[in-house]
Amino acid sequence: MSAKQYISDVVNAVSSLLTGMKRTGYYFFHHKEIITEEYPDNRATLKMAERFKGEVVMPHDENNEHRCTGCTACELACPNGTIKVVTKFDITPEGKKKKAIDKLVYHLELCTLCNLCIESCPSDAIIMAQTFEHSVFNRAELTKVLNKPGSKIMEGVE
Amino acid sequence: MLPDELKNKITELLPSASFEEGANAASGWVTLNMEAGDWLAFATNLKRDPSLAFDYLFCLTCVDWKTHLTMVYNLDSTTYRHNLVVKIKLDRNKPEIESVSEIWRTAEFHEREVYEMFGVNFLNHPDLRLLILPDGWEGKNPLRKDFDDPVNMIKL
């Protein structure tokens, strides 16, 4: 190795190191570039994307009515057995028997949030909610019944 | 090489080869059935022959057909870019086949995987040990169709 090359090696090495230090030094003094989100503190302003898949919920209107017919399409579509539809038979005013849901049991602890149940639902009875703080102290709390007590199916949904 | 030329060339090398129509039709790949005994010599030819030059084994796996096992070798040539699928029937009770890890080094890991998942014994494999299953594994081969594990497999 010639002396000239030796010196140029040292100079190049030092200059490459200084380039990196310039970049990190820039960020050291420019605190506006900080990207930390102070999560629990910014709950009020935190807005999730509207399509965010948090958990499966069943929307009810003001009369405590939902759109679920109990067709078990979601149960069949689910890869993990997350949804269990328990059906019962209602008597309609005309005196006919009609299938309806008793309970729609949803196991959040098994759910992979793949959206297949929502896609498969023919009457748009279930949707994805944007909640994400799911931790609970008791695992049993993750098993949810999606239809509210005393709810019934909306008029005109088949 | 076009599929028909490839078939002719292979028939030259291995007269006993029978071609399977329909399988892999969507990919347009030549599919070949052969006996386990000829495999090592034939594989060497596939790699060495300058007009074939199958130097890239991109997939090696096994299928359990309940009556027999089928080894499936998917080959590609980086010079000519033609593909070949080789299928070899094995006896399900005593599956044995020559290892091709000397020809395609990638086969070493894939064969170890097939060894533990299907129980195929690869002859002259340099290091045929359990790769994925834990040491001291007792019981059947997990990917065989009759494998049953009531503890860890949840039936839906």
Partner: protein, 373 residues
């Protein structure tokens, strides 16, 4: 019944150390048994299976629509591309025509995933070499991509946005604008990657002439993706066996001839720019129309075998479906890139120093769930 690992009692002058299953450099639960002579590596022996979930067995009991989501859990960094490969294979079996809009969306998402994956690789690799700062800087850009994903697909990492016949939902109305914003941000920040890491003399010394992989060995060991392209092997499936609309797009296959860790590093950095090129071509030209082809509610593949090859961020992913004509696959095999890429580690690591091992593992870009499946 099986042969087992021999328990070595007399090691002579060798030092056998276990790197993993819990080790900072393996980014997961990979277990390498390394035989050392001083600081020099004599042998690397991978022990797998710590997170093997037997996805292939699981898929055998799931329907064609259902099993796609499971593949997100293989190579979680290119989850979208894995789903894409499965969807392609099913479509091949069904003989489905995909609407052009769906194809464009799929390719856009693929390339965004590829950039996100390479960004994370870049940060993690610099962290392996002892520079912690790049990790956070890479995440700044990656975060914008995951936000775009979240907006359109509803999830950040395991999107499950693919269905046989197209994509699950149409693009979010703000998608185009957000991607354009990302392109601006990316172009403003990409030179910092070179300033902080690529040009750094310590980094170059750590990477150059480390872990040399010859083209012949790369092919023989089945190494694919950027790791093989670093050795000059043309193996980009997007170019060789184009799927979707890749044959209509202008982009280059990135090749380096060095074969060492630095070449593999440069391939990945340059590949991000190629992905940016693809996104730029597509973002203003997304065709109008359906985002999903009409399919039956229950899919049944005809009897036969179907194989698709797709280029993920790590290399070639093969999906091999054997169908008996039912609603579930009879046998499914995933040829994951990580598994083959790992097999070459012993070959290239012999004779180098222990500190080089992290550089090699970093540039092979091993994702452990991809290896274990």
């Amino acid at each position: 019944m099986y042969r087992e690992t021999e328990i070595v009692t007399d090691m002579g002058n060798d030092l056998v150390i276990n790197v993993g299953p819990q080790h900072p450099a393996t980014h997961g639960v990979l277990h390498l048994v390394i035989t050392l002579n001083g600081e020099t590596i004599k042998k690397v022996e991978p022990h797998l299976g710590y997170i093997h979930r037997s996805i292939e067995k699981m898929c055998e009991s799931l329907t064609y629509r259902q099993f796609i989501y499971v593949t997100s859990r293989m190579d979680y960094l290119s989850a979208h591309i894995n789903n894409h490969a499965c969807a392609l294979c099913i479509e091949k079996g069904l003989g489905l025509e995909i609407p052009p809009r769906a194809q464009a969306i799929r390719v856009l998402m693929d390339e965004l995933t590829r950039i996100a994956s390479h960004e994370l690789w870049w940060g993690a690799m610099a962290m392996d070499l002892g520079a912690f700062t790049p990790f956070f800087h890479a995440f700044r850009e990656r975060e914008t991509i995951t936000d775009i994903m979240e907006e359109t697909c509803g999830a950040r990492l395991t999107m499950n946005y693919m269905v046989p016949g197209g994509v699950m939902q149409d693009l979010h109305p703000s998608f185009q604008q957000k991607v354009k914003d990302f392109l601006v941000l990316y172009k403003r920040k990409i030179h910092e990657y070179d300033e902080m890491v690529t040009g750094n003399v310590i980094f170059q010394n750590r990477m150059k002439n480390v872990g040399y992989l010859s083209p012949e060995d790369a092919i023989s060991y089945g190494v694919t993706g950027p790791s093989a392209r670093g050795s000059g092997v043309k193996c980009d499936i997007r170019k060789l066996y184009p799927y979707e609309i890749y044959d209509k797009l202008q982009f280059d296959e990135v090749l380096e001839t060095g074969g060492d860790s630095f070449a593999r590093y440069m391939v990945r950095l340059r590949e991000m720019n190629e992905s940016i090129k693809i996104i730029e071509q597509l973002i203003d030209n997304i065709p109008e129309g359906d985002f999903q082809a009409k399919t039956k509610a229950v899919l049944k593949l005809p009897k036969g075998e179907f194989y698709t090859r797709v280029e993920t961020a790590r290399g070639e992913l093969g999906v091999y479906i054997v169908s008996e004509g039912g609603t579930t696959p009879y046998r499914i095999k995933f040829r994951s890139p990580g598994f083959s890429n790992l097999s070459v580690l012993d070959h290239i690591a012999r004779g180098s120093k222990l500190g080089d091992l992290v550089a090699m593992m970093g540039t092979l870009d091993l994702v452990i769930p991809d290896i274990d499946r």
